[in-house]
């Protein structure tokens, strides 16, 4: 095993088995959410044929794997980890935290399966007008930086890929050097959908039935897997459950997690409104149940296998169009018939593939009818379960990660980065002016929090060096 801090040769030929660093901004523990799961599964798959390290910049607790090391790293330790790697696969805000990577000759794989700037359109509504504008502008700048620097990019669907092609195009990254005249887009950005665990789900104990007070062993359970965020529409669902309960007293809706394991994900307005609505309709504890925490990743099958139907409802807007609902993958994995709003990657194929029912956004009556059919029409539910088993195969992690494994087997810098001087590339728009004194102070405070005095000192040295180099 390579020692921490020993840098590989990054010029000339790479070693046969490139050293791969997978970095996530999610905390790594038993309570994994979407991005953490994806980083974990990438590490599992890549470690079959490469030395791999999985790093979280947000904490590591009680989690390990026999084939790869797991680290919590910021500041100097993060630098040491990136120095070790030939290839760095990351999600989120790494280039802001590890600014030295952008100017290095490391091979960078940006995992942009989450169009974060579109998400901010809804998520940042709670920040006020200026806060929302700042959030959208800042996150766009973060993504542009990744797209401009990455040697290879991963997204979750072909629709997302078209979207990223456009954003790459205005940065000058769609050119004959990256994709060739034959338009081989996959050479620059490829599709790695969120995957399903290869192992079948197992129920070690009941997570909901007979366990949650108010939910009996024979009740019909609709499960909301995952968090409750502003772009979702649980309000229509609660209304539909309220109507359904008048005809079917045994219907139960269970929200699997209100509190995201990443403390950086804010509590959202819609979660509070949902609880208020359920309370107002007198459904809480009778037909609607909230888990105020988060179900551990390894225990989620105990909950999912207790359910009869998986549900996902959202508002009809642009975030929806390009989203890839990871909770739907859990429904596929556990064979749950799905009822979801149309308009995203999965909502539109539910009826077509016979794995559930798609309903229009905010349509209480249609949602009620779809839930009733999937819960109480035994033949329809059985047919959906049969189709689910067939449809789910394509999403196994082992299948989904093939493009990344192929790139890792022959990693390389993007040709335009090597052959075109950076100054001739199109610059991303600068949404804000030069940093203010206050923003410098913010960087100082964050550095102090993340890496202590050493990190502040290192950043200060870097700042002075860069200014010196520019002759300022």
């Amino acid at each position: 095993m390579t020692e921490l801090g020993t840098a590989p040769q990054t010029t000339g030929r790479l070693p046969l088995r490139a050293r791969i660093l997978v970095v996530t901004g999610e905390p790594l523990s038993g309570l994994l959410a979407g991005p953490g799961i994806r980083a974990w599964e990438m590490s599992v798959a890549l470690s079959l044929s490469h030395p791999v390290r999985l790093v979280s910049t947000n904490g590591v607790e009680d989690i390990s794997h026999e084939r790869f090391e797991i680290h919590y790293a910021t500041g100097e330790e993060l630098r040491a980890q990136t120095d070790w790697a030939d290839v760095i696969v990351f999600q989120g805000f790494l280039l802001e935290e590890a600014w030295w990577i952008a100017d290095s000759d490391k091979i960078i794989v940006a995992d942009v399966y989450d169009p974060m700037h579109l998400e901010q359109l809804e998520q940042a509504k709670d920040l006020g007008e200026d806060g929302r504008r700042a959030a959208i502008s800042d996150v766009t700048a973060v993504l542009n930086k990744q797209l401009a620097r990455a040697d290879y990019l991963l997204c979750a669907s072909t629709k997302q890929r078209d979207f990223w092609i456009g954003q790459l195009a205005v940065l000058g990254r769609i050119n004959v050097l990256t994709v060739g005249r034959e338009q081989n887009i996959s050479a620059l950005v490829d599709v790695v959908p969120f995957g399903l665990q290869d192992e079948p789900p197992q129920q070690r104990k009941h997570g909901i039935r007979g366990v949650v007070p108010g939910i009996g062993r024979d009740d019909k359970i609709v499960i909301w897997g995952g968090g409750v965020y502003n772009w979702f529409d649980p309000l229509t669902l609660v209304n539909a459950i309220g109507r359904l309960a008048t005809r079917h007293p045994d219907v139960r809706l269970y929200f699997m997690g209100l509190k995201h394991p990443n403390p950086g994900v804010p509590d959202m307005r819609i979660a509070w409104e949902t609880q208020q609505l359920a309370e107002r309709l007198g459904l809480v504890g009778r037909h609607v149940f909230f888990n105020s925490g988060w179900v551990p990743y390894t225990e989620r099958s105990d909950h999912l296998l207790d359910a009869d139907v998986g549900v996902s409802t959202h508002f009809d807007h642009v975030e929806t169009e390009f989203s890839f609902r990871t909770r739907i993958l859990d429904y596929l994995w556990t064979g749950l018939p799905i009822v979801a709003t149309r308009g995203d990657s999965f909502g539109d194929i539910l009826d077509e593939e016979g794995i559930g029912r798609g309903v229009p956004a905010e349509d209480v009556v249609a949602l009620e009818a779809a839930l009733e059919e999937m819960l109480y029409d035994e033949a329809a539910a059985a047919e959906a379960r049969k189709n689910l088993a067939r449809y789910a195969e394509q999403f196994r992690w082992s299948q989904a990660l093939e493009p990344l494994k192929a790139f890792a087997a022959a990693p390389h810098r993007a040709a335009d980065h090597v052959l075109i001087a950076p100054s001739t590339m199109v610059e991303a728009p600068a949404p804000t002016g030069p940093p203010t004194l206050r923003e410098y102070a913010g960087v100082l405070a964050r550095s102090l929090r993340s890496g202590g005095i050493r990190e502040v000192s290192r950043r200060a040295r870097g700042f002075v060096t860069r200014r010196w180099a520019r002759g300022e």
């Binding site: 700042a134 456009g166 728009p429 102070a441």
Partner: protein
């Protein structure tokens, strides 16, 4: 003011101070459903409202999409609702409708109950003056300022006209619709604003329009500049568009030869004059290089890529043509982008998102984003846009101040003032403890 929660659209009811009319549930529901469907952004109820678009009509109740009010000062709504301020609430209601129109929102007039406006030629003179000042502020364009000033001076012998410029400047800075797109609706609206409700007053006003030359300005058709290549599908598309724009003055600029055609006539004028002449510019498979200066104008710009595959277009040109830069400029400035199919729409949406054009202002006005980027095989959306051109919702946004949490230094000063060094030391110790606690469970394997 009452807010109704519709399907994703918040509809606000603006009621005139002191109005005694009550709106029936049926009328209110009709207005809400029209706003929710997106067919209009505001509905006013007025005598003889015939379901037609207006700039401003006298009414007691206006229903308006909350998002459309984002460019309007709350103080104006307050003036209408509680009658505060120097302008009478009826004038303020007219001003609100007119400003909604200038900001790119449509106002539909439906037949409904209103309190008759008291018509007085002497007693209400002060209100009329306020209305005229309002008119000067909300009337579009600089070229109308002179003739209208002359008109109202003929009509009223007004010597307080100098009060209008600052309000005018503020209104014009936010506007999103070009002058000539609104002039067709302007004459009756001006009459309402200046209180010319009876026949004699209308005749006097008409006479002043004629005498001042304002009539010609009010009837001038929209100017459209279409830029297209010399040949190929894009040229065919451009000519199809021109065929649909009856009643407008259209010029075709050919990208290759730089010719300027108006009908069958080749014009002997400069290319650089065209952006200044235009009320709307349509770039069909063209870039800003084909019509210099267009990117810097205030007029609505359509980027029509409906005959283009974006990736192929980028790759077919040598790198030295800098088509990525051209695309970036187009996406930064476009008010409407047209794509050839759904896949190309996704590509162009990504390009727009990279330029922060998929932002809160655009999204809140139209969450589907179809008003920013859409497919349009038939050319209907393109022709409609030319008839009713409007800048994108993120045009002329006020500069925003980056928000910050209360800074540590500010908090420290606060604690120092409140409780002295001991209080400050206590707060610092608590912060250190919290940070230590929050990091404690994290460890490296």
């Amino acid at each position: 003011m009452v807010s109704l929660m519709g399907r994703g659209v918040v509809v606000v009811t603006v009621t005139l101070a002191g109005a005694t009319t009550t709106l029936s549930d049926a009328l209110r529901l009709e207005a809400v459903s029209r706003i929710e469907s997106g067919s209009t952004e505001a509905v006013c109820f007025t005598a003889d409202g015939a379901g037609e678009w207006v700039l401003a009509a006298p009414c007691d109740v206006l229903l308006v999409a909350e998002a459309a009010l984002s460019g309007i000062e709350p103080e104006l709504i307050t003036r209408i609702s509680d009658g505060s301020g120097s302008t009478d609430p009826r004038t303020a209601m007219l001003e609100l409708q007119w400003r909604l129109s200038l900001n790119g929102h449509r106002v539909l007039a439906l037949d409904g109950p209103t309190t008759p406006r008291p018509v007085s030629t002497v007693v209400d003179e002060q209100r009329r003056v306020a209305a005229i000042l309002t008119a000067l502020a909300v009337l579009p364009g600089t070229q109308l300022y002179g003739p209208l000033t002359a008109a109202v001076q003929l009509y009223f012998d007004l010597d307080t006209i100098g009060q209008a410029p600052s309000l005018r400047e503020s209104v014009q800075r936010r506007r999103r619709v070009p002058d000539r797109a609104l002039t067709r609706l302007m004459e009756p609206a001006v009459a309402h604003l200046v209180g010319a409700e009876d026949r004699a007053d209308r005749e006097r006003l008409n006479a002043s329009f004629d005498a001042s030359g304002l009539r010609a300005v009010l009837t001038e058709p929209l100017h459209v500049v279409v830029v297209a290549p010399d040949t190929g599908p894009a040229r065919v598309r451009a000519e199809q568009l021109i065929g649909q724009l009856d009643g407008m003055t259209v010029r075709l600029v050919t990208g290759g030869s730089g010719e300027i055609l108006q009908g069958d006539t080749r014009l002997d004028c400069s290319l650089v004059e065209q952006p200044l002449w235009a009320d709307v510019i349509v770039l069909v498979a063209s870039t800003f290089d084909d019509v210099p200066g267009a990117a810097r104008t205030d007029v609505p710009v359509v980027v029509d890529f409906s005959t283009i595959d974006v990736v192929a277009w980028l790759l077919e040109a040598p790198l030295s043509w800098h088509r990525s830069t051209a695309l970036q400029e187009l996406m930064t400035r476009a008010d409407l982008v047209l794509a050839s199919n759904d896949r190309q729409r996704d590509v162009l949406l990504g390009a727009l998102a990279g330029q922060v054009r998929v932002n809160a202002a655009v999204y809140d006005e139209d969450p589907s984003l179809l008003s920013l980027v859409r497919t349009d095989e038939s050319g209907i959306a393109l022709a409609d846009f030319c008839r009713r051109p409007v800048r994108a919702a993120d045009t002329n946004l006020r500069p925003f101040v980056r928000p910050t949490k209360p800074g540590d230094l500010a908090m420290a000063m606060h604690y120092l003032r409140e409780g002295g060094p001991a209080a400050l030391a206590g707060r610092v110790a608590a912060r250190v403890k919290r940070l230590h606690t929050s990091r404690a469970p994290r460890k490296t394997r």
